[in-house]
């Protein structure tokens, strides 16, 4: 088995002609000479950075589907493998902190592959001068989050950089999960007529962060929705194994996920604005800040795509779980406008919902 996998890796690596890649095109042509913050927004520039600079150089069958994690098969065991880095500022925010986020994020990426998350790694890049007390708080909340999500940290690394060379602390987590034999979650399953379900209110995380960053005070505190979704995924898969697709709507919000699915499934997505759950206070904050909640980040929200026949069953199962009690059907997959997301607006008009190129910039007035 080991030999077979090694041979496969050798074969894939030798099929990439590095000499040609490096020789003919030393640097892929982009419009930017430097990486800008917009490249990290989860929008079009992020995708372009990945597609132009990274993917062609590492092309292989495991990477190409661009799911939340890679699907591997070792000794007839289906595995999901995923990684994510956390650079949030501020590191402590209403509803959570960077440590909790780092555990839940990777747990969720694995869960979206239909996997049961098992083992995680943690890499810490710490800035010189970072308060030991704060580090302790981060570690304790990681411990707590891991316990809740029922995963183990099995390996890790710490590095310290000069003061000013990092922003307090950055965390990377990677994880491995096992996919049950009868679970098969992938974009290729998505079909016209499928229903699109979300597990609750959108934009809570992004607005919680923003309200701290901008010192905005609201009557009720807006809290991040950070949560491990593996329990909810288990509930969903217990209700039906026929779920077509799962994706967590993190950076870039619901829009980025829906656009990615429409593009890779080569089908259209129809959404209804009034069906998308959003808290009153979050909606108000978005109005004040001039932001569209469809683009704002979530850390505990997922899109579930199911064939119409099981929609009610899955929806009810989701609503019975604490992390899905506000679950709602928000749209449908359609044959028309392939690769594009369209939305029926609140007043009955229509518009395209497209990924932004970079960060959502607050408007002047």
């Amino acid at each position: 088995m080991v030999q077979k996998i090694i041979m496969e890796i050798k074969e894939i690596n030798s099929s990439i002609d590095y000499a040609t890649l490096l020789g003919s095109c030393p640097l892929p042509i982009t419009n930017y000479k430097e990486v800008t913050l917009a490249h990290g927004s989860g929008g079009k520039l992020t995708h372009r950075l990945i597609e132009q600079m990274i993917l062609p150089q590492f092309k292989n069958e495991f990477l190409s589907p661009l799911h939340d994690g890679a699907l591997l098969n070792i000794n007839n065991t289906k595995l999901a493998f995923s990684t994510d880095s956390y650079v949030v500022n501020p590191i402590f925010f209403p509803g959570g902190n960077i440590g909790e986020l780092a555990v839940n994020g990777t747990v969720n990426d694995l869960s979206m592959c239909g996997a049961k998350p098992m083992y995680l790694s943690a890499g810490f890049i710490i800035e010189e001068g970072f308060a030991m007390e704060d580090f302790w708080r981060v570690i304790l909340s990681m411990q707590n989050a891991a316990k809740k999500a029922c995963v183990l940290f099995v390996t890790g690394d710490t590095k310290v950089v000069d003061r000013g060379k990092g922003d307090q602390i950055y965390i990377n987590t990677s994880g491995i999960g096992i996919i049950p034999d009868d679970v098969n979650i992938k974009t290729a399953n998505v079909k016209a007529g499928d229903k699109i379900i979300i597990n609750g209110t959108i934009a809570d995380h992004g607005i919680a962060i923003m309200s701290v960053r901008e010192n905005l005070e609201f009557e009720t505190e807006i809290r991040s929705d950070t949560a491990a979704l593996n329990g909810l995924v288990e509930t969903i898969l217990n209700a039906s194994k026929d779920v077509h697709m799962l994706r967590d709507a993190t950076r870039g919000g619901v829009t980025s996920v829906m656009t990615e699915i429409a593009e890779s499934a080569k089908l259209g997505v129809y959404l209804e604005e009034t069906k998308i759950p959003i808290r009153e206070e979050v909606k108000g904050a978005c109005e004040i800040l001039g932001l569209d909640p469809l683009y704002v980040a979530n850390e505990g929200k997922m899109i579930v795509i199911v064939p119409p026949g099981i929609c009610d069953t899955v929806l009810q199962a989701m609503q019975s779980h604490p992390l899905g009690k506000n679950a709602a059907v928000i749209g449908e997959v359609v044959n028309q406008h392939a690769g594009m997301v369209m939305m029926k607006t609140a007043i009955g008009g229509s518009r395209v919902v497209d990924m932004l190129s970079g960060e959502q910039l607050p408007r002047i007035c």
Binding site: K33, K283, S357, R363
Partner: protein, 371 residues
């Protein structure tokens, strides 16, 4: 959400649209002045719900779009200095100058910060006494009071390391310029709701009577806009040319006196160059001489600026309502929000960016509506 959902109601929208369709008898071209209105119209797909007789064209009221290239290049020159912390409203960051934009300068090490209020710059100035904090004071009459307040407070508090790069513009002179243009197609205006919240609408009476155009001061929610269109069409059909106030829950005729007094203490009316349109006499604000110590243009002496505007961009014609974004040969091709050639492609309030973001290409894409 209360006071918001009521203005985004499908049933009410249908009623207003039916009423507009009932009274309209011939084609009319109506300009919404504000970028915020343009954004709302395209975001909710409002223009496509109106009867075909009514064409909405998009006006010059997008502050970052009309800020002149010279001013943006000056801002870039100042922001690039090591001794400067440059503060700006968010949507100015990606506006292309002749050579770069603020986001790229930031990635090269310039200290550029987004602020929601210019008053925040004073805190930054106090916290960084060794730096010169510069705020890019742009916008229409809407942002003028807060911008004036920052300068006023800086003087009161004796803050000496704060200055403003002023590029303020005024709505009424721009409307007059559009109406006087030989290419003008505009027959009526949805007037600028936020601008009139500050200024009132006295200034608009001479415009309506001189040019015989109806002007309806209008808000920004879908119901406001539909109601504004209805009031405008009614005037047009009845042959009236009056100033009316649709946005009466916010705007009154006299405006906000306190805000206006502050503006006139700090600023005075001056000629101003508009990007894509050119120089319009008496169409902007500049700092009064007693505040010259806060004038970034004088402090940094950045006069020799060599500007280079894209040769294909037609944003000037778009801003005057003469052309629609898709009529530009670069729209959606060389010019996209990732690589904008002109400012109308950058700000959410710019007509080109709104058209691109919400999928307005030459061919209309029909939305599939599942049963």
């Amino acid at each position: 959400m209360k006071y918001l959902d009521e203005y985004r109601d499908e049933e009410l929208a249908q009623k207003l649209i039916k009423e507009i369709a009932r009274i309209v008898t011939k084609p009319w071209v109506i300009m919404e002045v504000c970028g915020g209105q343009t954004h709302s119209i395209v975001k909710y797909g409002l223009d496509r719900m109106l009867p075909p007789e009514i064409e909405l064209v998009h006006g010059p009221g997008c502050p970052v779009c009309v800020t002149s290239l010279e001013m943006i290049d000056k801002a870039h020159a100042i922001a690039s200095r090591e001794d400067v912390i440059f503060c700006s409203f968010g949507d100015m960051l990606r506006v292309p100058g002749s050579h770069s934009d603020l986001l790229v300068l930031k990635s090269r090490g310039a200290d550029i910060r987004v602020v929601y209020s210019p008053i925040d710059c004073l805190k930054i100035a106090k916290a960084n006494p060794g730096k010169k904090v510069v705020f890019f004071a742009i916008g229409f009459e809407t942002t003028a009071p807060a911008n004036a307040m920052s300068v006023w407070l800086a003087k009161q508090q004796g803050i000496t390391n704060f200055s403003v790069l002023v590029s303020h513009v005024l709505v009424p002179p721009a409307m007059a310029a559009i109406l006087q243009s030989p290419q003008n197609r505009v027959q009526a205006f949805l007037g600028p709701g936020h601008v009139c919240t500050v200024m009132g609408y006295n200034e608009y009476f001479p415009l309506a009577s001189t040019f015989k155009v109806p002007i309806v001061i209008t808000g920004f929610e879908p119901m406001d806009l539909l109601h504004g269109v209805l009031m405008t069409v009614k005037q047009l059909e009845e042959g009236r040319a009056e100033v009316e106030n649709q946005y009466s829950r916010v705007v009154n005729e006299a405006g906000n006196r306190t805000a206006m007094d502050l503006v006139y203490k700090v600023f005075e009316v001056s000629d101003r160059k508009w990007r894509g349109i050119g120089s319009i006499p008496q169409s902007g604000y500049k700092l009064k001489s007693e505040f010259k110590d806060y004038d970034a243009e004088l402090i940094f002496n950045v006069d020799k600026i060599d500007t280079q505007e894209s040769s294909v961009c037609i944003s000037g014609l778009v801003l005057q309502g003469v052309k629609k974004p898709q009529q530009c040969s670069a729209f959606g091709k060389q010019c996209t929000p990732e690589h904008p050639l002109g400012a109308t492609m950058v700000s959410g309030e710019g007509a080109c960016a709104a058209y691109y973001t919400y999928g307005r290409f030459l061919e209309k894409i029909e939305m599939a509506v599942p049963e």
